[in-house]
């Protein structure tokens, strides 16, 4: 059973149609990337998944059922602009929000202390939120989002403002949750993070789905018919290669469409070129994003 099923949802506001006939599903045990240009409708879609706003038409189901009060307890949400009660102690903020999700207070307190210890935040448990640094506040927010063991996590730019160490540990946290069978929606503009973490993606532009599916499959679809070559020696003119484009420490060879990558490799080896790396070039998601977002859509 899919964790989330979105079926032909539409949402219009007075001045525009924010979401226009969107359908997709999110499966258990996957990280689902939700990407798109600013104003595309991502946040509106997220709010409809969480029943904060209702679609004008269409349906959203959580774990196969229409949204109900108990559905909210199965969702953890981390908004992009983060903040908790400034004058509340960290532990109190975590426990309060956990109880809103239906957790027993004593259980929530115990689990909060465990998670604070795991993240190295236990010494800060009794500090007020406005006494914590931005990174520490975000770790607290991570705990708030996950403490009630939700089936679905919706994370909007979860790594912004985190240093590399905390970013890496947060990524590992999410990957562990994914491996436990949770569904994670990752909404971000950082395409490198999407490439690194997401299994499937949905790209929304002007309220419509413009890319949807397995990330590898999408990248293959947008392949340039080129290969990445790291080498030593002289290349010269290579038959079947239209263009040689130098990268930082590699050369990208654009094939003419009639020559296979294997033929190019054989040519290089016959010439005595030392090949350190040879792979089919997959376009970065950033490039795909720019290309798709820049196209006119019907």
């Amino acid at each position: 059973m899919d964790t989330v099923t979105v079926d032909h949802i539409v949402k219009a506001f007075t001045d525009k149609v924010a979401v226009n006939d969107l359908s997709f599903s999110i499966k258990p045990g996957e990280i689902f990337g939700l990407i798109g240009p600013n104003g595309a409708g991502k946040t509106t879609t997220i709010k409809m998944i969480m029943d904060i706003i209702r679609p004008d038409s269409g349906e959203v189901k959580i774990l196969g059922e229409k949204f109900s009060e108990s559905s909210k307890n199965k969702i953890g949400y981390m908004p992009e602009e983060r903040g908790l009660y400034k004058k509340a102690r960290a532990i109190d903020a975590i426990v309060y929000l956990a109880t809103l999700k239906g957790m027993d207070k004593a259980v929530a307190t115990k689990k909060a202390n465990t998670l604070l210890e795991q993240t190295g935040m236990l010494p800060s448990a009794r500090k007020k939120m406005d006494e914590l640094s931005k990174g520490m506040s975000q770790l607290i927010q991570f705990i708030v989002t996950t403490i009630h063991d939700p089936q679905l996590l919706i994370m909007d730019e979860p790594f912004s403002g985190l240093d590399p160490v905390n970013t890496e540990s947060s990524k590992q946290w999410l990957l562990n949750l994914r491996n436990q069978g949770k569904s994670i929606v990752l909404s971000t503009h950082q395409m490198n993070q999407v490439e690194e973490m997401c299994d499937r993606i949905l790209m929304v532009d002007r309220g419509r789905a413009v890319l949807y599916g397995d990330l590898k499959e999408i990248k293959t679809r947008f392949r340039n018919n080129s290969v990445i070559l790291a080498y030593e020696g002289e290349l010269g003119v290579i038959p079947g290669v239209n263009e040689q484009r130098p990268g930082k420490d590699y050369m990208e060879l654009f094939l003419d469409g009639k020559t296979t990558p294997q033929q190019v490799l054989k040519t290089l080896l016959d010439r005595g070129v030392t090949v350190n790396r040879f792979e089919l070039a997959m376009p970065p998601l950033n490039e795909i994003f720019i290309k798709v977002a820049g196209e006119p859509h019907e």
């Binding site: 709010k47 904060i52 909210k72 953890g76 949400y77 981390m78 983060r82």
Partner: protein, 390 residues
């Protein structure tokens, strides 16, 4: 909210200050004997016969043979002022007073002493001294309020009857003002730092509103419980220690019941209004700017307190008793000045209760539409359209 310093201070300050006042009074009245100041007032008797009863309370009347002598005494400040008794006084009752001070009107103590001096001397020898004393003494009137069946009424009225409702009115306004600022600040902060999105991912907008309104109502209840429980005790302490006027004060069970009912309903009405303000404004600060528009409605009966006391059954004040925003304070003040008809109280309570329910419904619509609108405050037209929409 109830653990906030400001809330605790406002809640406890009333009983604490009252007890402090009683204790200070006891200390001061025991330690200090008030100094009795004798005022010397001169007089020139051109008629003759005004030579007795020259000691009137704290005023000592000193006779001078001529106006010149009296002027010298005034200039040397041997006397504070002097009067000249002429035949014109016996004909018209008008007497001239001469003073170095700039006065709006003659001091009440001097005027009272002069009247007693003059009337005592006029009556001297014509009626017994005891009757002269009776004529000059203030009229002692004891009022007993009866019911229509001729029995002594439970509530006797008097100035004491005004004081308690007036105090309670002020307390109600104080509570509403302080609590509204907490509620707006909290909602504004939640909106500003997007915490509201986290909350709405856990509870529905209706649950959010009801939680905030009831939470504020519960905080208000705690305040009035403390005040209501402490008021009779403090009153008893005050009447024993200070006595006098304070011993005539009474808080009847009916008044207490009405106070609790109006306090709770008034609190809830304003709480709902402030939740709506918090939903449409972009920040706590902006919300605070709009709040006074509504708290003024709670406060304005206090501006008309004098008129309410004098004309408690004026149609304007009856309307204010029925209008939900002004009802709590207006009714409290009218209860002190008159017997408010039962139908007005019943209609007022019904209107208030309906306002609470209707307000909840409308606020839920506003919250659902505008709570997540950031950076831009909706216009009044947009708000009205959203209320009309399904």
């Amino acid at each position: 909210m109830i653990t906030r310093t400001g809330f605790i201070i406002v809640t406890l300050i009333v009983p604490v200050l009252s007890i402090l006042g009683i204790v200070i009074y006891q200390i001061v009245s025991g330690a200090v004997t008030p100094e009795v100041k004798i005022t010397d007032v001169g007089y020139v008797d051109t008629i003759g016969g005004f030579n007795r009863y020259t000691q009137q309370g704290n005023v000592n009347l000193i006779s001078y043979a001529t106006v010149e002598e009296a002027n010298k005494a005034l200039a040397s400040q041997a006397v504070k002022e002097y009067v000249v008794i002429t035949p014109e006084y016996l004909a018209t009752g008008i007497i001239n007073l001469y003073t170095l001070e700039k006065q709006l009107e003659p001091p009440a103590e001097t005027t009272s002493a002069l009247k007693k001096f003059l009337s005592s001397n006029i009556l001297a020898g014509k009626i017994p001294d005891t009757q002269i004393t009776l004529v000059n003494s203030p009229l002692g009137v004891i009022t007993t309020r009866l019911t229509t069946s001729g029995e002594v009424a439970e509530e006797q009225g008097g100035y004491g009857n005004l004081l308690i409702p007036s105090i309670f009115s002020v307390l109600l306004v104080l509570s509403i003002t302080f609590s509204s600022s907490y509620l707006l600040a909290g909602l504004g902060d939640e909106k500003e730092n997007r915490l509201i999105e986290v909350l709405l991912s856990s509870v529905s907008p209706r649950q959010l509103i009801i939680g905030k309104v009831l939470g504020m109502g519960a905080a208000g209840l705690i305040q009035i419980v403390i005040w209501v429980v402490s008021a009779p005790l403090i009153l008893k302490m005050a009447s024993v220690s200070i006595g006098g006027f304070l011993s005539t004060l009474e808080i009847t069970p009916v008044f207490l019941l009405l106070f609790v009912v109006y306090f709770v309903l008034g609190y809830l009405v304003f709480a709902i209004i402030f939740v709506a303000i918090g939903a449409v404004t972009t920040s706590a600060r902006e919300g605070q700017q709009f709040a006074p528009i509504f708290t003024l409605a709670a406060v304005c009966p206090l501006w008309f307190s004098g008129a309410i006391i004098m004309f408690p059954n004026n149609p304007a004040f009856v309307v204010m008793t029925l209008f939900p925003l002004t009802a709590p304070v207006t009714l409290m003040m009218r209860l002190g000045a008159t017997e408010v008809p039962a139908w007005q109280i019943i209609v007022s309570v019904i209107v208030l209760a309906a306002s609470v329910l209707g307000g909840l419904f409308l606020t839920a619509k506003i919250v659902r539409t505008f709570l997540l609108m950031y950076g831009k405050r909706p216009s009044l037209g947009q708000i009205i359209r959203s209320l009309k929409a399904g």
